[in-house]
């Protein structure tokens, strides 16, 4: 039972990690409290759904959906999000709430509200190890998430653009001084963050129902993770995301499944009360 719950938790945690990574990047880089972040997750799921049906192939459908996500991300960053950098928090929050409502309801009109799942390309037979059951899409989701996070890590750590990215993330003024093109970095960061969230939608949509309101629930969790981890900690957010997935899974197994969504917020409130800078955050940062 425990191992089963642990593994389920890690799979859910992979999804949280992908959403939260993007959220941390956008929050830390652009100081935008992005309520519309969950909508990219939702849109990623819906586009994957439609393109998988269209091409009758999950992998092609998923990749095409990601290309669309990238285009949407670039467009929305250039048109809207770019203007929100350095605006006060009330303004940016209200505008991103507006975007979130708009996207959610547009999807509701275009696709309809009835829940569905993305058709998955694997055989129905689960993998059984001892008394643990794991379905194949879950294995796929877990390892794909690891690969995405690995690529992201490689990009940030070892590429030239990644270095500029890190510099801007830590100190924008200094980045400007050394001649980094921060507008390019902003567009890039937003696009990466949004697309990774979209990928989470395209992946998790195989094992969960997709519906227009899924983004709202997801963004709540992403916020909880980012603030719990500490606003500027990308790796902290990944760690907390997996942790939260496990806690939720264990909590719903041993305590109550109806209240599994509450754990994130209880943790958040405790963190804000006792360590407001976040678990991995630095004081005064």
């Amino acid at each position: 039972m425990f191992l089963q719950l642990l593994i389920n938790g890690l799979v859910v945690g992979s999804g949280y990690a992908l959403i939260a990574v993007g959220h941390t990047i956008i929050f830390g880089m652009m100081k935008i409290v992005n309520f519309a972040h969950g909508e990219l997750y939702m849109i990623g799921a819906f586009f994957t759904f439609s393109f998988v049906l269209l091409f009758n192939n999950y992998y092609i459908g998923f990749l095409v959906a990601m290309v669309i996500c990238i285009l949407i991300a670039i467009f929305s960053e250039k048109v809207l999000f770019h203007r929100l950098i350095d605006e006060d928090i009330m303004t940016t929050t209200l505008i991103t709430i507006g975007i979130s409502i708009f996207l959610m309801n547009i999807v509701q009109i275009l696709w309809g509200a009835n829940p569905r799942t993305i058709p998955q390309p694997f055989s129905e037979k689960p993998v059984i190890i001892g008394d643990i059951f794991i379905t194949k899409p879950r294995i796929f989701i877990f390892f794909t998430a690891i690969v995405i996070i690995g690529v992201l890590h490689w990009f940030i750590k070892y590429t030239k653009t990644g270095k500029a990215f890190r510099a801007t993330f830590q100190n924008r003024q200094a980045a400007l001084l050394v001649g980094i093109n921060i507008n390019y970095i902003y567009t890039l960061s937003y696009t990466i963050g949004a697309t990774v969230a979209g990928a989470a939608g395209g992946l998790l949509g195989m094992i969960y129902v997709i519906e227009p309101t899924m983004g709202v629930a997801a963004v709540g969790k992403a916020f909880a993770i980012v603030i719990t981890a500490g606003k500027k900690s990308i790796y902290g957010a990944i760690f907390i995301a997996y942790g939260l997935g496990v806690i939720e899974s264990l909590g719903s197994g041993y305590i109550s499944s109806q209240y599994k969504d509450v754990f994130a917020f209880i943790i958040l409130i405790l963190v804000l009360l006792f360590k407001p800078e976040g678990i991995f955050g630095k004081k005064g940062a």
Binding site: F27, L94, I106, L268, I269, L272, L273
Partner: protein, 317 residues
């Protein structure tokens, strides 16, 4: 207030009193009653968002707590209206004191997230504690208001009740805003550090605004439960937060009449744009975005914005 504007207000109030005789349209009257309930909600939300400058997204939770207090008191104890009504306000206020005590220590993004979380948790509680709240089914069969034998069984009677409540609330808010308390609120909004350094207890005054807003929302929730005779967990949905924000932003935050204008217009407008009914929420989203970008002081500041532009032109030319 000079005599001239006093007369304007008196004429306005007289018109509102005569309105049920003038319109003779049950449905329109219903919309006006709902507009009144929204006026109470948005005016309360305005205290924390408009005057303190902290974005609270959990206001519908206080409305819902007020409505559920009333519904449950009636279902379990059959207590009379006046008691239910007052308890709805008081219990809501007590809960908001507890919540505010924890959350108003933080500002900005953390506060915003905590308020969303609170709304979400309240929604889950009401949905899942079926034995206590009846879950998704909601509570039906709440009777009409009865005060000392007088039964509120017409729309007109509710209209007048809401009208009195709105005028009374606005009057109190007006007096608060134009006093030391209102000045402290604005000081906190404009410059928190300077407010502290002239002796303003930021935590105390933020809490007072937050709790006052919650108290009003609780009362509004109670009236709503009696008026509609039915309540459900849908009262805790985030879409209500959105509606309230659209009303507040477009009406003009940080003003006394702004919330009234926003509430009335955005209650009536969607009903008269029925043909786009399924587009209502996306349109609200766009309105919110455009409103914030172009009319941060509300639609009715257009005059002010235009005159400022003219002045700028004069200066530049």
């Amino acid at each position: 207030m000079n005599i001239n504007s006093n007369i304007k207000y008196i004429i306005g109030i007289l018109l509102l009193i005569l309105l049920p005789f003038l319109i003779n349209n049950e449905y329109l009257l219903h919309l006006l009653i709902m507009g009144g309930i929204y006026t109470l909600l948005v005016s309360g939300l305005n205290l924390i968002v408009g005057y303190i400058g902290q974005l609270s997204l959990c206001h519908p939770a206080f409305f819902g707590i007020g409505a559920y207090t009333t519904g449950l008191l009636f279902k379990r104890l059959s207590t009379p209206f006046l008691l239910n009504f007052l308890l709805a306000g008081i219990i809501t206020a007590i809960i908001s004191i507890g919540f505010g005590y924890i959350t108003l220590r933080v500002r900005g993004s953390a506060f915003i997230i905590m308020t969303v979380s609170f709304l979400h948790i309240m929604h889950l509680l009401v949905l899942n504690e079926v034995d206590f709240t009846m879950g998704q089914k909601g509570i039906s069969g709440i009777p009409n208001i009865n005060i000392l034998g007088y039964n509120f069984n017409t729309k007109t009677s509710y209209y007048y009740l809401i009208l009195i409540l709105c005028l009374f609330t606005l009057f109190i808010i007006y007096r608060l805003v134009n006093s030391e308390i209102g000045r402290a609120w604005k000081a906190i909004r404009d410059n928190e550090n300077l407010a502290k350094s002239i002796g303003i207890n930021v935590f105390k005054f933020s809490n007072f605004a937050f709790v006052s807003g919650a108290f009003i929302a609780g009362l509004a929730g109670s009236i709503y439960a009696y008026y509609i005779n039915y309540i459900s967990p849908d009262l805790f949905l985030f879409s209500i937060t959105t509606t309230l924000l659209v009303m507040l932003i477009m009406g003009g935050k940080g003003t006394i009449l702004g919330p009234v204008i926003g509430a009335i217009i955005f209650t009536l407008l969607p009903e008269y744009l029925r043909f786009i009914s399924e587009w209502r929420m996306p349109v609200f989203g766009v309105i919110l975005i455009l409103g914030i970008l172009f009319f941060p002081r509300g639609l009715f500041s257009i005059k002010e914005i235009l005159s400022m532009k003219m002045k700028k032109k004069e200066v530049s030319s």
